[in-house]
Amino acid sequence: MKHWKNALATILLFTGIGLAQAADPIKIGSFLTVTGPASFLGDPELKTLQMYVEELNAKGGVKGRKLELIHYDTGGNAKDAVNFVKRLIKNDNVDLLVGGTTTGDTMAVIPDVEKEGIPFISLAGAVEIIEPVKKWVFKTPHTDRMAVARIFGDLRKRGLTKVALITGDGGFDKSGHAQILKLAPEYGITLVADESYGNKDTDMTTQLTKIRAAGAEAIINFGLGQAPAIVTKNIKQLGINLPLYQSHGVASKSFIDLAGDAAEGVRLPAAALVVAEQLPDADPQKPILLAYKNKYEAKHGPVSTFGGHAYDGLMIAVAAIERAGGTDRAKIRDQIENTKGFIGTAGVFNMTPQDHMGLTLDAFKLVEIRNGDWKIVD
């Protein structure tokens, strides 16, 4: 007679546990450089993550569970990145990490991520994040090596081989610099000048004066922030008429605003996001890009490719959680590694156990600035 009571109690107990689990949010941890020297990278990243977590929750969440975004601002300080990742893991009990705006922040936390065994999708650029491959670390932006390859490819096409280089003192600048030196022989490029500035500097005419005397056929400026805009203006000011290549670090409208008409004719590799309208309608990326662009610009102003990387990271993570059927960390990791044919803002992602980024070189478009806007060149 008592058996049915026990059965009922057991059924209620398990239902209760099941309901409680369903109410358990999926916690996504994020550490970004929202303030500090890389803030215009981290700021759109945070806004994007917040925007889409909100949208996904409005649609009912993922697998019936709401998403919760817990984020900290590292200010570009790698030491803080390490502490915040520990905080996210130990204190906030997150299920996975999407963040690490800068390479410095990302590299600093990798030991803890690997030891702890938590999936981490990085939003930083350097190729050494995924090369050599680390079990738990993935990334969504194109690598600096890809950017350099794109620039060199275009230079070779135009028959320009003598190049002057000018870079800043940030991590992005220096790793781009390293890739340029490494890849130059492969593309038959000779570096006739190698100048450097501080990212907070206000005048680069000195370095450019030296470059002018070096007999270059083109100038590459690999950097981000306000400095590339100053370099671009200084080049015009000094009357140097050489083709100028920038990096994807300036693939945002604010560069064109700051550099003014000195930006005319500048070429750079950029994610398709900045030229979404110019893509053929048949391009599978186009609808995703336009959706993201319109949604972001409605709320926050001009879109940024760095925000796009955050979108990619979040959506890949969400898709992986769906396929994994839950928040088991190992299963999520496996499913992230299994990302195939995922259409993001940076391109189409196909990850493998050896390739934890999944983008090919043609995911980067080569654009030129004409009439204050981007035009696809390649």
Partner: protein, 317 residues
Amino acid sequence: MMRLAGLYALAAAVVVLPILWPDNYFVIVVGASAGLHVILAVGLNLLMGYAGQISLGHAAFFGLGAYTSAILSTRFGWPSLAALVASLLAVGVLAWLFARPILRLRGHYLAMATLGFGIIVHVVLVQATQWTGGPDGLSGIPPLNLLGWPVDGDLQWYGVIMAAMLLVLWLSLNLVDSQVGRALRAVHGSEFAAQMMGVDTGRAKTQVFVVSALFAAFAGSLFAHQQAFVSPDSFNLIVSVELVTMVVLGGMASTFGAACGAIALTFLQQGLVVFEDYEMLIHGALLMAVMIFLPQGLFVGLHQAAGRWWRASSRRL
């Protein structure tokens, strides 16, 4: 006597806290961070509070210690303890060489010279990419190996850093009470008068400069192995200014004051992150408020407040 009591109390707290709250981020991780800051601040306090010399470049010694340990143990494969000793030696020698010319300067000029030194070191750390890994720093630093025991994991590091912190506090307290310490205080009071009384002020100032640099290098080496990673932005001007703030906030010319300031600021920074974009504003406002209302520093201020409360409550009895 009172001083040692304070040290024992702190040691007790250090042991009890992780027992009360095991595996707690704030106790273990932030606590370890605070411990390193205490070592740095106490060293700086010897220079600023007792010898009266301002340094806006203290982070440079922190960084030099960290990078020396890092480079020796990664690029040259030295065992970590040997690298630690080497970095102490290297920084000590550098500080000694630098001390003589710099300590002829006074006040703001001294501050400028130390600031300049800090910037020069920072630029070298960023630019000498072959050695230092540039702005993205050096990763893959092997763990600290204390005679066969590799220090691994947050709790173990908490233990090591806390032990180091207590050691440094004890050294500092003893130094202040020693002959060198008294010479320093004489210098702080009036250098000219001290010289008249036969104190070798140049030597005393150099000694304290080197000691404070050694403390910083010690903290740096520990830091490098704890993080397994070093990058230049942990050792820039902002950090130097933060260290000065810790010393003044806690109360200059007081070892426990400096420790107090270091702990307070470390936890404050962790606590303020929840305010996101408002963090900077609140941080600045708090700093101003504390210095306006407790110009002698937190430690002295709290001490006095506690004293008043004690007297008030004993009167009521």
